[in-house]
Symmetry: C2
Subunit: 300 residues, 2 copies
C-alpha cells in the first residue's frame, strides 16, 4: 500500500471565466471544489489507476469539513487528522479564451506540535510499503518533519522544496522529485545533473527532476536517464508533478527498473495535463501514450 502524507491540505476551488483581465470584474461561470494538496492529488491518481493507496492529511474548520466530504464522495481512502486551525483554500482561475491557468494559494494554518505528532502517528499506523511526502510544511511543523517520517525505514518519495526539502534529506528518502527551479533554489547549482548529484550526496537515494515539457531526468545509483514525452500537450499543468510522483511511487512499490518507472511517470504527467483538475488523469491518454515515452540512458 502506498501512503501519501499531506501536512498542508487544501480545498481546491476552480473558477472558470471567459478571460482573466486584471482590474476587471469577472462573472464566474462554473465553480468546482474538491480536496487538494499535493499528497491528496497523488493518492487520487493512484486510486484512479486501481493501486492500493491511502491519504493521511491534517484538516480543520469548515474548509476541512468540505475536504472530508469531498474525499468521502470521491472514494479515495483517506484519514484526516483534525487540527484547530482552518484548512486553507487554493483558487485556480481557468480562462476559457486563452487557456490561462492562474493560481492563488492561501497560506496554511499554523499547526501545533501535538497535531504534527498525531499526523506522524497516523502515518506510522498504516504501515505502508511506500510513503509519499508531498508539499509545503505548514507553519508550526518541525523543520525536519519529512526527515522524521522518511527515517522510519519505509521507502519514501519526497516532493517538496526549499528548507523542507533540504532538511528532509537527512531522512534518506528513496527519491526526491524537485522541478528544475526548486533544484536550483535548493542547491544554487545551475547544471541539473550536478545539482541532482549534490542532493544524492546529501541523502537522497535518487533524484528525479521534472523538466516541464522536456519530461523527467533521473539521477540514480543505477544510472542516469532522461524520459521525454512523445508530444507537447496543452492543458492544466497544475497536477502534472503530482501525477509523476504517483507513477514513481507505484514503480518503487513494484520494484520496477528505472526506465519503466520513468515511462509511467511521464505518461501520467501528460495524462494529468489533459485532466480538467489537479489530481485528474486522462486514463485513455495514459494507456495510449505509455509505450511512446522515449527513455534514454546518459553517460555519467
Amino acid at each position: 500500500m502506498i501512503l501519501t502524507v499531506t501536512p498542508n491540505a487544501a480545498l481546491d476551488v476552480t473558477y472558470t471565466v471567459d478571460s482573466l483581465v486584471p482590474d476587471e470584474v469577472h462573472r464566474v461561470s462554473a465553480v468546482r471544489q474538491r480536496a487538494g494538496g499535493k499528497g491528496i492529488n497523488v493518492a487520487r491518481v493512484l486510486y484512479a489507476l486501481g493501486a492500493d493507496t491511502r491519504a493521511v492529511a491534517l484538516a480543520g474548520g469548515a474548509t476541512g469539513s468540505a475536504v472530508a466530504q469531498e474525499l468521502a464522495a470521491s472514494g479515495v481512502p483517506a484519514e484526516l487528522v483534525p487540527i484547530a486551525g482552518e484548512t486553507r483554500r487554493t483558487t485556480t482561475v481557468l480562462s476559457s479564451d486563452d487557456h490561462a491557468v492562474t493560481l492563488f494559494n492561501e497560506p496554511g494554518p499554523v499547526i501545533t506540535a501535538g497535531e504534527w505528532a498525531a499526523l506522524a502517528a497516523a502515518a506510522a499506523r498504516h504501515r505502508p510499503e511506500v510513503l509519499v511526502c508531498s508539499g509545503s510544511l505548514p507553519p508550526g511543523a518541525p523543520p525536519d518533519a519529512y526527515a522524521q517520517l522518511a527515517s522510519a525505514g519505509i521507502p519514501t518519495v519526497l516532493d517538496t522544496s526549499g528548507d523542507a526539502l533540504l532538511a528532509g534529506l537527512a531522512g534518506r528518502p528513496a527519491v526526491v522529485k524537485p522541478n528544475a527551479r526548486e533544484l536550483f533554489e535548493a542547491t544554487g547549482i545551475r547544471d541539473v545533473e550536478a545539482a541532482a548529484a549534490e542532493l544524492r550526496k546529501a541523502g537522497a537515494g535518487a533524484v528525479v527532476v521534472s523538466l516541464g515539457r522536456d519530461g523527467l531526468l533521473a539521477v540514480t545509483a543505477a544510472g542516469t536517464w532522461h524520459a521525454a514525452p512523445p508530444a507537447e500537450l496543452s492543458g492544466n499543468a497544475t497536477g502534472a508533478g503530482d501525477a509523476a510522483v504517483a507513477g514513481i511511487a507505484l514503480g518503487i512499490c513494484r520494484h520496477e527498473p528505472w526506465p519503466q518507472v520513468l515511462r509511467r511517470a511521464v505518461a501520467l504527467s501528460g495524462a494529468a495535463v489533459l485532466g480538467p483538475l489537479a489530481g485528474d488523469v486522462d486514463l485513455p491518454h495514459y494507456h495510449r501514450e505509455h509505450h511512446r515515452v522515449a527513455v534514454r540512458a546518459r553517460a555519467s
Copy 2:
C-alpha cells in the same frame, strides 16, 4: 430605521497579492473575509455613521454560516433568512504593486418561492422608514421582486440593474441609483439626463446616476443636480456605489433637500474608495470632505 434587503448575499473574500499576472501562481499574503452583498455593505456604512439600520438577507450552507458569524461579530444588526442553497462567495484580488482590484463573482444559489416569501415577510415585519433594495436577484426570485417590496408604501431606494431594475420601477421606488453603464443598458439611451427622465416616466421618483470620478447626477421632481467630489482618489472603488446609496437613504430618512443628500452621498463614496474593503468608509475623510463637495443645479 433604514432596512436594507440583500436577496443575493455573499461571503466577500479579499486576497492580497504582490501583482496579479494571468497564467502564474500567486502566494496570497493576506486573506480577509466578511459578509457582503450590496445591501449588507449599505447597512455597514449606515451602522458606521451611527444611523439606525438593519440588514435582512438570504443565507445558507457553510458560507451562509460564515456570513452570519461575521455579521454578529461586526455588530451590524441583521436578520438572515435561511435558504437550502449555499451562499455564494465573491473573491477580490488586490494587487499591492499597481493597486489593481480584480473581482470574481460566483453565481448565487437558486432560491425557492417560499424562501423569497420569507425574505419579503421579514422585510415587512421590521416596518422601516426607508427601504433599500440592493443588488442582483438570485435565480428563482420573482422577476418583479423589487417592485413587490417597494410597493408597500415605504420610500424605497433601488440599486440594481437590467431586468430587476426595469421590473422594479412598477413598485414606484423613491430613488433608483444606476451607474451610467447600467442606465444605458436599461434604456438604450446614451444621454444620461434623457435616460434618467425615461426611468422617472416608468415609475422612479428620482434617478441618481453614479458617474464614477465625476460624482453623481440626480434627476428629481424638484430639479436636476450634479454633485462632484473635490479631488480624484485612488483606492478600492468596489463599495463606492453602496456608500452613495447609504448616503441617499439617510438623506431621505431625514427629509433633507437634494443638494444636502447628494453632498453626503458623494463624500461617502470617496470615503469608501479609501476604505480597505467594500462596506468600509474612511470616516475622517468623510467628515473632512463633506463640505467640499460641489453641488450645482442644472437647467432642465
